[in-house]
Symmetry: C3
Subunit: 142 residues, 3 copies
């Protein structure tokens, strides 16, 4: 049984959903050493999110951003607005989407489906640098 834990920063982005599977996997070369295990990705922020969704058509990411704007609209009345109108809706979207995902590892690779990718959703308008704690646990190859 082995553990690997590290913190890395995602490429800063403005509001939108981004496919970051390759960026994540390249930050974690030790994944290849695990025969079986789990990867926990935990974003240390409250106005962004991590989720799994389609890895092919980039329109899905644009439609998701629009849908979340309708579900938790910027043009609503919020008490918490000191940082601007995009602040509170970002917190709401963050708890709806979630900031952490756990992905199984099988034979040195993430056991995701064919069409599944890791998405980083940025809910603030301005470019932010988001830190992710990656915790890998499992059995390594002998």
């Amino acid at each position: 049984m082995s553990w690997s834990q590290k913190t890395f920063a995602l490429t800063p982005r403005t509001r939108g959903c981004y496919l970051v599977t390759d960026e994540v996997v390249q930050s974690l070369p030790e994944l290849k050493e695990y025969k079986v295990g789990l990867l926990n990705l935990f974003m240390q922020h409250t106005s962004a999110g991590l989720t799994l969704n389609e890895n092919w058509d980039s329109d899905v990411r644009l439609d998701m951003t629009d849908a979340l704007e309708k579900i938790a609209p910027e043009k609503a009345m919020y008490r918490h607005d000191a940082e601007g109108s995009d602040d509170m809706p970002a917190h709401i979207r963050s708890s709806l989407i979630g900031v952490a995902i756990t992905i199984p590892i099988k034979d040195g690779r993430l056991a995701t489906g064919t069409w599944q990718g890791v998405w980083y959703c940025e809910f603030r308008r301005s470019r932010h640098s988001r830190k992710v704690v990656a915790t890998i646990q499992g059995e390594k190859y002998h």
Copy 2:
């Protein structure tokens, strides 16, 4: 410390929410061997979901399906519509509900609450076969 990992397919279903606790537990007889641990269920798809909710009144599952239709409606304008009007809303609902859950194992059983069950939510209209990677880790009985 032991690991068990396997992939199984859920009984194919059309759109709706389904209680699959028994189906999951029957697919994982090795659960009984673990004194303490965690079960991670990870669905390898982007237009369905796994969640925990009420295991008693089936009306809760019907109401949930209706509520998700209101939250991410089929009758909206989406860029991504090649596979039909139920495609993009399915992706949205999938990220809202999530595709993975982690459940504690205690004394050889899932440590869920009295009224808690595992739900498979299918967001596409047509019948789909959904694969789930089940990863169990923990301490077995000696």
Copy 3:
């Protein structure tokens, strides 16, 4: 590799979102013994939730409660209403927010971000006592 698992009850609360980081950490003094690991918090209920969000401005928690009321409104038509008008919306909010979170442990502490805290969201109007199964796994200090 070590495991600790215990069940504790959160202070009963009426509808709203509450910052419970301190309450959780005080219930889990064994966290300090782990050099690296993961904490899984699993609520055994279907009309409440656990999430991570802002730990500073309490207005964020009030705005979140209001936002969830708009997303899954009490004043809608539900089949499942035997326990009152707040019953079914509570189930919906529970699956949107989720009942479980997994947080990395680093150097004997939760590796949460500066502004990140654990929230208990109660979706029923009356005061409820909610049980949480806490499962810690990791490598202890020697």
